[in-house]
């Protein structure tokens, strides 16, 4: 049902051209939405979409996170790596950080945020101890906590997805 609504709305968004939507497009959207829902069920019957992702407060927090701390860290990290490209000074290593996150969605969000900011790259994850292995381009501390690498990201991931 979630997939049906989401894909129908996405289709309508894609064909929307600033005016009224024709009824034929709505019919096509419903047909394609149903098709997508059936295909997703066939493809992975165990698929579970948690309804907490549809909570508007969480979605609003996600948008705030995307344009607030995440964008700031992105700019900072981009300029840092740009300087490293020019000067060629690197000090790489793979470090292990504890995240303290329980949900799979939160861990995925955190790992993707870390990979998107240049200078840090998620190499592997330990599902049981909830630790991430991060390739870090400038190792300043051989036993870092989560704050040394990604600042306030874990807190935000917990607030958004747990």
């Amino acid at each position: 049902m979630v997939i049906f609504v989401a894909s129908a709305l996405t289709y309508l968004l894609l064909v929307w051209a600033g005016g009224a939507i024709e009824w034929l497009e709505v019919v096509i959207a419903i047909v394609f939405g149903g098709l997508m829902a059936v295909m997703a069920r066939r493809w992975n019957p165990d698929i579970t979409l948690r309804h907490s992702w549809l909570n508007p407060i969480r979605l609003a927090r996600f948008v705030v996170y995307l344009f607030g701390p995440f964008l700031f860290a992105l700019i900072q990290a981009n300029l840092d790596v740009a300087m490293r490209v020019i000067t060629g000074k690197i000090n790489p290593g793979i470090v292990r950080i504890p995240t303290g996150l329980n949900g799979d969605g939160a861990l995925t969000l955190l790992a993707n945020s870390i990979t998107l900011t240049p200078g840090t790259l998620t190499v592997d994850a330990n599902d049981k101890s909830r630790e991430l292995y991060i390739h870090w381009i400038n190792v300043t501390n051989e036993k870092p906590g989560a704050e040394d690498i990604c600042g306030t990201f874990p807190k935000w991931a917990r607030r958004i997805a747990e």
Binding site: N78, I94, D124
Partner: protein, 123 residues
Amino acid sequence: MVFAIGILLGIGLIFNVLGTISLYRFPDVYTRLHGTTKCTTFGSLFTSAAVVVYGLSRYFDGYDGRFVTLSLHVVVAILALLISNATGAHALARASHRSGIMPLYAVVDHLAEDEKNKGGRIS
């Protein structure tokens, strides 16, 4: 408006060029991935933002609905780019480490140590 679009395209181009240079300057696959992530996040984000600004400005010129569609499609493309970039870089790094490519000049490698202690793969 042309000025703003030019600035956005310029920033995007500079970061794309730096990302490409990093492929030559950095020694191994992991550090090169850092460089190319910069390419897709900042470079392509800014060039896509230029397209969005262009589409919106053309829309407010004559209220032609096609340009809203153009901007919307580019926003969807940015989202797809961010998701596929993160997961793709992660998949490449994980596959390289599993194939035994160790990071060059690394000062510390906790993943290899843990795998040795455990005598197998972590996950």
